[in-house]
Amino acid sequence: MNPEFILGLILLLIGSAVSAFPRPKNYLIQLINLEIPGWGLLLVMLSYNEALALFTFGGVSALSTFILVRVIEKRRPI
């Protein structure tokens, strides 16, 4: 039990609970809340010393954010 693992679990719990029940219920708030468990998962991967997993996860996380932003933009025109 090193500190990275515990901190990652705390962020993962907070983020997934809040992202399941967003308070002002719209897509923007839910997308911002979804970033918190992403960083928590990165900390958990860090505690197992997986460098290649960290690279891949960082790239895929940014790419999925971009795709979700395009989908929300198309669904609700600004």
Partner: protein, 76 residues
């Protein structure tokens, strides 16, 4: 890493995550998310993954800028 540093950076990350989770305005949520990321970075560097830290430091603001594209202009 020293235990004082673990406590301080963990405090910054947790308080940033709580403010991001329970505030209702999008801009305050984004500023607090930047604070949470700042608390996480020393843990990555302390493990010795300097290349991962450099790549993540470039990727994280790009992700925030993507989210800013759908923050409406007049909305606080």
């Amino acid at each position: 890493m020293d235990s004082l540093l673990v406590v301080i950076f963990g405090f910054i990350a947790v308080i940033g995550a709580l403010t991001t989770a329970f505030n209702r305005e999008p801009y305050i949520k984004l500023i607090s998310m930047s604070m949470m990321i700042g608390g996480i970075f020393p843990f990555i560097v302390d493990r010795g993954f300097l290349d991962v830290a450099a790549a993540t430091a470039v990727i994280a603001p790009i992700s925030t800028i993507f989210i800013l594209l759908i923050c409406r202009k007049g909305e606080p």
